[in-house]
Symmetry: C2
Subunit: 509 residues, 2 copies
């Protein structure tokens, strides 16, 4: 336009570009919110499958979930989405972050084409089905036949060469931001120090610490576990507690479903699982509402997710000051448990003993089980170890780390876990990274609240939830995991706090 200053023209163009981009952002948000509605359906259909569904429903349920999963994959892989994301960027950091997380989710979907998804799903089902029998029968050769295919398919993702190593591509699905180099460093440190701690503990407590065995009705235990959840801040207007074969936590905004399992002879196991799952559920319900349905609004990664559950279980629930408050509540609900004082319960919970089975391992020996799996699956995916060589290396590492041999004993050795059967390589490290992060976060909380023990002794836990809400939950995926940790604790993941915690809790009486 004649006479109009150049700046105004530029401003006008700039304005138009901004509007286009805002339209794009709106379209993208709606697209991902649509995907989130499908995720909502899948989430609750899976919960129902594990908690409510009668056996006759299996076939129909599998078909429906498969159809919804395909629809979800198609929505992520539509070429239009790729084009729109390629055309859109923002100088507003949070908007740009949101776009980056969208692109990440899109690329992960595109890197596993529909046929590969199907092949993996079939091979995974076959391997898992077989494993249920083969584990019982110590049948490594039978397992290997299916497992070779699972490993081969896991190594076929198109994204593998975008990462420093193929294993890092799988790790990225669960431990986004915590790569294999970082994990290796932390695990090396743990591998050096934990055996010393085990030695100290066993020397001090040659006596075997007893389990708290008795007879406790399931109904009484249910009420006790619900009470624990309330004290830990769980809102039953926004969630449920149910029973399933393996405890888990799932759900959506305002509706967190956690499960536990009860044993008539042991009331403590369910309480630990309930505290653990309450941590997971609290993270999910604490995610900021403004990003609902967007990738930026999801929990950051499994290393942080597991840090929340382990913080609730190991740092909070098992803190002697909290158990001092909670033991009278146990006594109130379970008359048979009145024989044990808070101190006796703490003492029993601090039992340490090298053992074969990961899921039954205590807090001190548990990381060695994880490190063993991390080292093996890394080599497996990077192609430096063949599946058939797993039993030998498993036995060697068990001997080295825990002084136990699994020679010819696959049932209690390399066939004990379900994770590898369906190709979930890269998940194991998050358990121990979670333990490390939990101790580090709890140390920061206790620095910020020097009177924390007095508060816990009165059953007050809100200060912990508020702190985690501000420092972890509210940040969702707007930062990388290590950035979140630095802002919260002043440093990246560092095993110091975890090692101090182990020493403090397990070597002192």
């Amino acid at each position: 336009m004649p006479g109009q200053p150049a700046d105004a023209v530029f401003l006008h163009i700039h304005q138009q570009q901004r509007e286009t981009i805002m339209n794009h952002l709106d379209t993208l948000n709606k697209h991902f919110q649509k995907i989130a509605q499908i995720d909502h359906a899948i989430t609750f259909l899976q919960w129902d499958q594990l908690v409510m569904m009668p056996p006759g429903g299996s076939r129909g349920r599998a078909q429906s979930i498969a159809e919804l999963t395909t629809m979800r994959h198609e929505l992520l892989c539509t070429p239009l989405l790729g084009e729109l994301l390629a055309e859109t960027e923002s100088d507003e950091p949070l908007l740009q972050r949101s776009l980056t997380e969208m692109e990440r989710e899109r690329r992960q979907a595109v890197s596993v084409p529909a046929e590969l998804v199907r092949a993996q799903s079939l091979a995974g089902s076959a391997c898992e089905q077989g494993w249920r029998v083969q584990r019982r029968e110590n049948d490594w050769q039978g397992f290997l036949e299916n497992f070779n295919e699972v490993v081969a398919l896991a190594r076929q993702s198109q994204a593998l060469d975008e990462y420093p190593t193929p294993y890092d591509a799988l790790l990225d699905l669960y431990c986004r931001g915590d790569d294999s180099t970082r994990i290796q460093q932390i695990f090396t440190r743990l591998k050096t120090e934990i055996p010393n701690i085990i030695g100290e503990v066993l020397e001090k407590h040659a006596d075997q610490r007893a389990h708290l065995l008795g007879s406790f009705t399931i109904d009484d235990q249910k009420r006790l576990n619900a009470r624990l959840m309330e004290i830990l801040g769980f809102d039953f207007e926004r969630g449920r507690l149910d029973v399933s074969l393996h405890p888990f936590s799932t759900g959506a905004r305002g509706d967190q479903r956690i499960t536990t399992r009860f044993r008539e002879t042991d009331f403590f196991e369910a309480l630990l699982a309930t505290a653990h799952e309450t941590g997971h559920a609290s993270y999910e319900n604490g995610l900021p509402e403004r990003w609902d349905g967007l990738p930026i609004g999801s929990a950051r990664n499994m290393c942080l997710h597991e840090s929340q559950s382990l913080l609730f279980e190991k740092q909070l629930f098992l803190a002697p000051s909290f158990l001092a408050y909670f033991t009278p509540i146990i006594h109130e609900h379970l008359p048979q448990a009145r024989q044990w004082s808070a101190e006796q319960i703490c003492f029993a919970a601090a039992r340490v003993e090298p053992s074969y089975i990961r899921v039954e391992a205590d807090e001190v020996t548990y990381p060695l089980h994880i490190i063993l799996r991390f080292e093996i699956e890394k080599e497996l995916i990077n192609g430096t170890l063949r599946p058939e060589d797993i039993p030998e290396i498993w036995d060697a590492k068990m001997q080295e780390y825990l002084g136990l041999s699994t020679k010819d004993n696959y049932t209690d050795g390399c066939l004990q876990d379900i994770h590898w059967t369906d190709g979930s390589f890269g998940y194991f490290p998050s358990y121990t990274m979670g333990a490390v992060n939990a101790a580090q976060l709890f140390a920061a909380i206790t620095r910020d609240f020097p009177d924390w023990q007095a508060s816990l002794r009165q059953g007050q836990t809100t200060f912990i939830r508020d702190w985690l809400g501000r420092n972890i939950w509210n940040k969702a995926s707007s930062l990388d995991s290590q950035e979140i940790l630095i802002q919260a604790t002043g440093e990246e993941s560092n095993p110091d706090s975890f090692l101090s915690h182990l020493r403090r809790r397990y070597t002192l009486d």
Copy 2:
């Protein structure tokens, strides 16, 4: 090809056409099976919403169900589906029937455009929400403001002029095959005869038959109701019993979910609801597997569906011979009920009394409540009655049919039902058509099995399930409702059996 006989060429063309049609059929089947997978998800998300979901989940659940419903509507309305159906026909009667049912489902979806679906859903929600308060407060004027919009939108479907009357278009959604002329005929007969039956009953039993009141724990009742379901042939490997505010039945192949509600003071109400919902569930689980996911494979219509539930509740469970078997089982589970013999329970269950509230009405007066609603909603949708004139006509009909006045009493009059609030016009008749069909089917069963009472007295119900399986369930939507009834009983819906049943059960001691 030179020298080839003309017949062979024709045969070749014919073969090609056949292949094209088989391809089309395959595509169509897959398309409808995909829709069925979405329906599966919606079904169980809605069950969860009513039975399990905490309040905090409402918003997310509504969004997810809305998204899935939109996807379903889009899949039915895609122009490609219409083209494919227009191009495909079959000379194999069952295949052609399958195509006809597909086209029917498509046309019903297309006749309600997406904006109308949304407008109806919004107006329905607003009217239902308001009604919950307005009914309590006897606020007809407040209700009318929302209700005018609900009626107006119900009359906007694009299919209205394809039917003899606009009301028949809505009736077709629930009572497919039973049009307003047929229903009117049957209801006219009932309207004439039922008042005589009521007169006879009240003359004979001037004494008020007592309710079976006492105190019965919910846990005991739960076990008793599950036992009843087992005796009625319900397979708990293929379904569940739960509790909800209003009893209902839903589910999918192999996974029928029924609910009931328990009152501590009255054990009989839950048993009736359980028997009723077991009938619905049995129909659904008895549909033939070969048509899973296809419109031809659905239950025929609500007049038949309700006939199954009422057959289980009124004809089977309340049969004196069955109660003779079941009463000792009641005594076993509920010690407090041991004071009542089977005869006393039958006698109490045969209480008749004209009353205001449909859902509390006895079997004899119930049809009059339905006829009143049918007559009013028919005029409403056909445009010969304005919503504001409902209270006056309601009062007049209540006086005429049941001798009760609802003048100025909207709470116990025209505001008592939820059905109209969300625009479900055309549903009410299925209750009484179901009662008529149930009695007619049961009469046919008793003709085929002259020893039926001896069987029921031993708790044997399989012969009834097998008969219904062959004659009703297995036919799904492969025939019209009246064709199914003719094949099963030798005639179309005929109120004779129902009227005889009422006379037999309620006028004799």
